[in-house]
Symmetry: C2
Subunit: 413 residues, 2 copies
Amino acid sequence: MAHLNDHYFKLAAGYLFPEIARRVREYAANHPKKAERIIRCGIGDVTEPLPAAVIKALHKAVDEMAVRESFRGYGPEQGYPFLREAISQHDYQSHGIAISAEEIFVSDGSKCDTGNILDILGPGNRIGVADPVYPVYVDTNVMAGNTGPASLGGSYEGLIYLPCVAQNGFVPEPPPGQPLDVVYLCFPNNPTGATATRHQLETWVEYAIRNETLLLFDAAYEAFIQTPGVPHSIYEIPGAERCSIEFRSFSKNGGFTGLRCAYSVVPRELTMRDGAGEARPVHPLWLRRSTTKFNGVSYPVQRAAEALYSPEGMSQVGELVKFYMENAAILRAALSQSGLSVFGGIDAPYLWVHGPSNLSSWEIFDRILNEVQVVVTPGSGFGAAGEGYFRVSAFNSRQNVEEAGCRLAGMSW
Amino acid sequence: MAHLNDHYFKLAAGYLFPEIARRVREYAANHPKKAERIIRCGIGDVTEPLPAAVIKALHKAVDEMAVRESFRGYGPEQGYPFLREAISQHDYQSHGIAISAEEIFVSDGSKCDTGNILDILGPGNRIGVADPVYPVYVDTNVMAGNTGPASLGGSYEGLIYLPCVAQNGFVPEPPPGQPLDVVYLCFPNNPTGATATRHQLETWVEYAIRNETLLLFDAAYEAFIQTPGVPHSIYEIPGAERCSIEFRSFSKNGGFTGLRCAYSVVPRELTMRDGAGEARPVHPLWLRRSTTKFNGVSYPVQRAAEALYSPEGMSQVGELVKFYMENAAILRAALSQSGLSVFGGIDAPYLWVHGPSNLSSWEIFDRILNEVQVVVTPGSGFGAAGEGYFRVSAFNSRQNVEEAGCRLAGMSW
C-alpha cells in the first residue's frame, strides 16, 4: 500500500494570489463599467521584451541546433563552461570576489534552487526565515518535513520567524538564544524592497561562522541596487565563502521569467556537519544532486544568458533596470504624496507601504481596488509582520505606472 | 550547527561512465595511432539535428519574446494549455485513452520527474526496481533515505530488485511475498531494449490495484515501438489510471536532449494512503509540488514541443525514429553475424547483447575496445543481472553505425 508524504497536508492553502484574483473578479463583475480601468501592480513579473542581445543569441543557438555539426544534445548538468565562466568573471572576479566557474551551478530558476537545496540538508536543523517572507522558503520546508503544523495565524511550528519591521529597517538581526542552523536572507528583499548594509551582513557572517550556521542568501534582485556601497553579494563579506550559498537569477535583470535561467553558488570552502559530527564539503553533495536529479538548462537559453554579459547585453540590462527603477520612483512619489509611509523602491523593484494604522492589509487592498481600481498585494499575505502593509510592484508599462501613480496620489487616507 | 543529508554518503561513486571514459582515455594514450578510429556507441544521446518544424517554432517564439505585446513572462508552472492540450489529444485521446490536459504536467526532463516524484511519497514504502536498471531510480531513492547502505555488489538494502534476464524476456513479474508499494517500470526499456506485452502490463496493473501499489511507468522511449500491439502507454490497460503515474519525454523522439522538455501524467483517479490510512488523490500533491518548487519550462521550448504534434512535426519525428531504428537494425545484424545473442533494438534504440559466457561485461568491453575500437556500455554497470551483457546505442550517425557494425560483425568470439 503506497503512502504519501503527509507533510504536504500541513500546507495552508495557497491563499494569497488566488484570493486576490477572487476579489478582483468579484469587483469586476459588480462594477462592469470600471472593470477595464483595473491596473495590476501586484505581481512581480517583468513586462518588457527580452534585450536585443538575448534575441540575437537565441536565434543563433537555434540555428546551431538545426545542423548536425553544431547540434548539441545533453550538456553538463551544472551548465556549460561558457556560461559558468562568464558568471564567475563578471559577477564575482571582476568585483574582487574569488568565486570560480566550478562553484557556479546553472539552473532553471531560483525558485527551484531555493527549494531543491533542502535535498542536501539533514533533518533537525533549526531554520530561520524572515517575516514577511517569500513563501517558497516556508512551503518547501513544510513539504520537506522540517516544520510542525501551521498555527491559525499561518506560521509553522518549528520555524523561527525573524520579524522585519520599520524599527529594524526590515533587516533582521541574529536572534538571541539557541543558535540557528540555517537562515534564509534575501536582499534586496522581496517583498519589502529593503537592502542590508555591509555592516549588517558582516554581523550575520560573523554569527554564522561562530555558530556553524548555513546562510542561504537570495540575491535575485541585486541588479536593482542603485546606492553605492550596498553589497550585491554575500561573498563581498570576508568569510562568507565558509558559511553561505548564494542564489541569483536572470529573471528580473534580463527579463528571463519566461525563458528560465538562474544559478546557485556553492563555494569549495563551505562545509557542514554529517551525522557523525564531521565537517564535510557541501560542493560534492550539490554536484551529486544536480547531476542525478537535473539534466541542465536548455542550450539556447544558456547562450541567451551568456549574451547578458556581452557589452551590448550589459548595456541593455542597464536600460531595463533603469526603466523599472524609474517606475519605482514614480510610484514612490505618488504614494508618498498621498501621505503614506513608503519603504523600498530605491534599490529594489518593490515598494512596501504602510497604510493608516487602523486598517488591515486586506482592508487597504479593498479600498484601493474600490476607489481607484489598482491591484496591490496585501502585506499580511507574506507573514504576520506584514500586517498593515501592502506591496506595490514596479514591473509594469510606463503608461500603467503613470496612470496608477496618478490615481494613488489622489487618494486621501 | 547545520547538518547535511547523511543519505548522500551511502551513494556509491558514479562509477560506470567515468570508468568507461578512463579506460578509453588510457587506451587512446597507449595506442595513439588507433585513437582516431574510436567510435562511441555507449551513450544514449541523440545525434541528429532538431526537426525543421521545431526550428521554425523556436524562431517564431523567440521573435514573440522580442516585442512587448507578445512577450511572455511567468507561465503556468505545469505548462501552457496549448502544449498540455496537444499532448492530451495526440498522445492519449486520439488513442482512445481518457487522459485530460489537466492531468499533464510539463517539465524539463524525465530524469527530473522520476527523481522529483519521490517528494510526494512518504517514508516506509517497499520499493521495487528492475535489475538491470536506469541508475536514477536507485540513486534518487538513496538520496531520499528510502534505502539502507550499499552492498559490495552495489545493490542497496531495502530496495527490492526484480531480475530481468533472457528467461523472462527482460520483463519482471510481480514478486511473491510481501507486496511492493511502489514499482518502477520502464518500457521500452533502458538498458535492455525490451518491451512489455499487453498481457504483462495487465498482470502488473491487476497486482497494483489489488495491493494498492503505485506504478511509476517510464515511457520515454515509446516512440520507437514498431511492433503493432505493443502498448505505448500504461493507460492502455484498464484500471491503470487508478494506480499509475506515467513519464514521457521529448528527448529521444524530438531530439530534445539539449532543449529540455518532458511531461508526467497524474490521473485524477489516482489515490494513495495518508498516514492515517485514508485514500487521498495524488494529483493535488503533485500540482502543489510543481507550483511551489518549479517555475515552468522555457516558453520557446514549449512552443517547440507543440510543433512536434503538427503534421510536419509528426512526419519529421517519424523520419528521425526511422533513421535511428535503421541504425539499430544494422547493429543487430552485425552483432548477430558475429555469433552473439542480441536482444532489443526492435522496438527500442538500445541493443542488449550477451557475450560469451566466460567473459564479464568489463572483459567484453575491453576486448571490443582493443580489437575494433568501438565503445559499448558494460551491462554490469546497470545492475548485477546485467553481468555478461553489454548495451549498444543506436543513437549515432549512419557512417559511424555502418563502420562500427562492419567491425563488430568481423569479431570472432
